[in-house]
């Protein structure tokens, strides 16, 4: 088992190393290395999943990385139901996205091509490290590693100022969250004296509620950064500057879910802190709603998907926040399929339209790109929660969990968000793929993508359609499987027949209503969207400008910090104090040297006696001290 786990983790690293060091050699052939470097771990992780299904577990420290007296940093892996699902999802989705990238990135320079695959493999390596770590610090290594790869890949087209800035923004915003995460780690080590999950969770009961709340809130700060929740979600829409497969893999399917994974992984701590759970659920719900409303009026294909991702991540946090961790992870799992799929189709559209992203310039593309179009529809139906597609099952689990857990407001918000989700997704579909083409020349040049891109689409579409059915598998389905690790917070809530079906019907009805409304507004123009925008101008403007959050951040955080840095830190601290100290040391050295240079006579005999006397002096110094 250890060999298999090491294979899963290290093969992507090997691929990254080869492409990184020998990019001058692999060039256009980089995918020959990179794709197997992900595909093999994908197969191996399926084997591992099968063995975990049979009840095997793995939790072992391989070696002590930094032994410092009492403080020892382990390198070790933990494979249980949770991490098995995670690595299977990550490697499976990543494999198809790698395949897709072969077609999508074929306009790049040879070196850039190899570099891209190197980063991608490296990302998978760090993601798997994150998922398989059996201690907080190794998890943090993976956490930071995926952040690094995210930064590198967002800024992949670093010649473009907007891409470079977006990368920087992602990095800085993530740092804020990571800072909280790190302090959380310190507190865990301080209070529990260990970094290993197994030991930490076993002794979690010792924590007082206050400390547990503090720790979990700090950890959740990290999660909000990585998983783009309020208030740190602002980087994710900008991250769409990266190549679309990257958006698909990192900023939809895998990395951004790391926060959810982390909360689920540390559920033992969160269970100790009800307040933190409330905070998680509330922030998740608020984020879900806010992001969904922002997606309503946006005209940028990828940004809508990005807001959608933020919104769905909010759902996941609602799941883990109300205590149905398994449902949250299940939604993570299904979301990886359909959101990965939708980003890939968006990439396919961009590929066809030479990078055009504005919805208002598209229309009727389904005739030109049937595979892309229909797979997108599958994904949209899945996210809208139409049964029996994947999103329905997982979303329903979350909403049911929220309702059963007594979080009625959160349930209401989630249900309304489901309606909004269906609406903006089908707005996107109707504007993009149906109706009349609005830009003739774009439409004329559009073409279906090559098979290397469409086959992953089909595979993921099939996945989006069917993975939800895992909920119906024996022994409680996937949720039951995950609950073997995660436990059920609301055992008493159970799944009573009648209420469950009512909730299910409500959420399906909301999804259908959203689809129908979108159909009438954007196909039939029944309530004309333009007129509506005019009638509700203040709301529209507010939504269109994303609640002015970026502007607020600039006004209240960025500018004061920059100003303070410039006037207080630079002009005063740096110039006067630090430079003064440095120059003072320099002057002191010159002074001393100026005195000592008289010794350097350049006359060898003088040096001879200095050596003799020096030997004696050194002996006595050694003797006396």
């Amino acid at each position: 088992m250890m060999v298999l786990i090491l294979a899963v983790v290290l093969i992507p690293l090997l691929g990254a190393t080869i492409n990184g060091l020998f990019c001058w050699f692999t060039k256009r052939k980089a995918h020959i290395i990179a794709v197997p470097a992900i595909a093999i771990p994908a197969i191996v992780s399926l084997i591992l999943l099968a063995r975990v299904l049979q009840g095997e577990r793995f939790d072992q420290v391989l070696y002590w990385w930094i032994p410092l007296g009492d403080f020892r940093v382990p390198i070790g892996f933990l494979l249980d139901e949770l991490s098995a699902i995670m690595i299977t999802t990550v490697t499976f989705v990543a494999t198809w996205i790698h395949v897709y990238s072969i077609g999508y990135m074929d306009h790049e320079t040879p070196r850039g091509y190899a570099k891209y695959f190197c980063y991608l493999n490296l990302f998978v390596f760090f993601m798997l490290t994150l998922c398989l770590a059996n201690n907080f610090l190794l998890m943090f290594v993976g956490w930071e590693g995926v952040g690094l790869c995210s930064y590198l890949l967002i800024g992949y087209w670093y010649e473009k100022a907007s891409a470079a800035n977006a990368g920087m923004k992602a990095f800085v915003v993530n740092r804020i969250g990571d800072f909280g995460f790190m302090i959380g780690l310190f507190l865990i080590y301080k209070h529990l004296g260990t970094l290993l999950f197994s030991q930490a969770f076993a002794s979690a009961e010792q924590l007082s509620v206050g400390v547990a709340t503090l720790i979990t809130l700090l950890l959740f700060t990290g999660a909000t950064g990585k998983s783009a929740q309020i208030p740190l979600y602002v980087w994710l829409p900008d991250a769409m500057e990266g190549p679309t497969p990257v958006s698909s893999l990192i900023h939809a399917a895998t990395m951004v879910t790391a926060g959810v994974y982390m909360v689920a992984r540390t559920h033992a701590l969160f269970n100790m802190a009800p307040l933190s759970m409330e905070v998680v659920a509330s922030i998740g719900a608020a984020t879900a709603l806010m992001a969904a409303t922002m997606a309503l009026v946006n005209n940028d294909l990828k940004r809508i998907l990005a807001y959608s991702t933020v919104s769905q991540l909010g759902y996941m946090f609602v799941g883990v926040g109300v205590g149905v961790y398994a449902a949250g992870i299940f939604h993570l799992f299904t979301h990886a399929f359909f959101k990965g799929l939708m980003f890939l189709t968006a990439g396919s559209v961009m590929h066809a339209l030479h990078g055009e992203l504005n919805l208002q310039k598209m229309g009727g593309l389904i005739k030109k790109m049937p595979i892309t179009g229909w797979t997108f529809v599958v994904g949209a139906l899945a996210i809208a929660g139409i049964p029996p597609l994947a999103g329905f099952w997982s979303k329903d689990e979350i909403l049911a969990g929220a309702f059963m857990g007594g979080h009625r407001i959160i349930w209401a918000v989630g249900t309304f968000t489901a309606f909004l989700t269906a609406f903006y997704m089908f707005r996107l579909i109707f504007l993009t793929f149906f109706g009349e083409p609005r830009e003739k020349h774009l439409y004329d040049h559009a073409h279906e993508s090559p098979p290397v891109m469409t086959i992953p689409l089909i595979v993921l579409a099939v996945g989006s359609a069917v993975v939800g059915l895992l909920a119906l598998a024996p022994h409680g389905g996937i949720v039951g499987f995950l609950n073997r690790t995660l436990g059920e917070a609301h055992e008493a809530a159970g799944h009573e027949g009648g209420l469950t079906y009512i909730l299910m019907v409500i959420s399906v009805a909301m999804g259908v209503a959203g689809v129908v409304l979108a159909y009438f507004m954007y196909m039939k123009r029944m309530p004309d969207p333009v007129a509506m925008a005019r009638n509700f101008r203040p709301v529209y403007t507010l939504l269109y400008n994303k609640y002015y959050v970026d502007e607020i951040y600039f006004a209240f955080i960025v500018n004061p910090v920059v100003g303070g840095s410039r006037y207080a830190l630079w002009k005063f601290v740096d110039v006067i104090i630090i430079d003064g100290a440095v120059n003072g040391v320099g002057r002191l050295c010159r002074l001393v040297g100026g005195g000592l240079r008289y010794i350097q006579t350049g006359f060898i005999p003088d040096y001879a006696w200095m050596i003799l006397v020096g030997a004696v002096v050194i002996y006595w110094i050694g003797r006396l001290f």
């Binding site: 350097q600 006579t601 350049g602 006359f603 060898i604 005999p605 001879a608 003799l612």
Partner: protein, 101 residues
């Protein structure tokens, strides 16, 4: 009380220090070099005496190495003096004043 290690040490140190003294008060580069050989010889005497008193041959091995190093040093040193003589027109070490501040 016969001649023991102490007397050899005295001899060795005196030879060594005479060499060092020569290095300190002479300014003819060649003679300074000769004095360096003298210092090495002083060290050799001590090594030999220690080898003899400890009943170990290793001191003699070190002496052989010292001789080899002395030969190498003489080769390099003489080459330096030759080229110094050529460039500075003499072998007084006070002619080597370029590195003075």
């Amino acid at each position: 009380m016969g001649v023991g290690l102490f007397q050899y040490t005295v001899l060795s140190v005196l030879v060594f220090l005479l060499g060092a003294l020569g290095l300190m008060i002479r300014r003819n580069a060649i003679i300074m070099f000769l004095c360096m050989e003298l210092m090495l010889n002083g060290v050799n005497i001590l090594f030999m005496a220690l080898a003899r008193s400890k009943g170990s041959v290793e001191g003699q091995v070190i002496v052989l190495f010292v001789m080899a190093v002395a030969a190498a040093e003489a080769a390099i040193g003489m080459a330096i003096i030759t080229s110094f003589y050529r460039s500075r027109g003499g072998i007084g070490v006070d002619r080597a004043d370029l590195m003075k501040w």
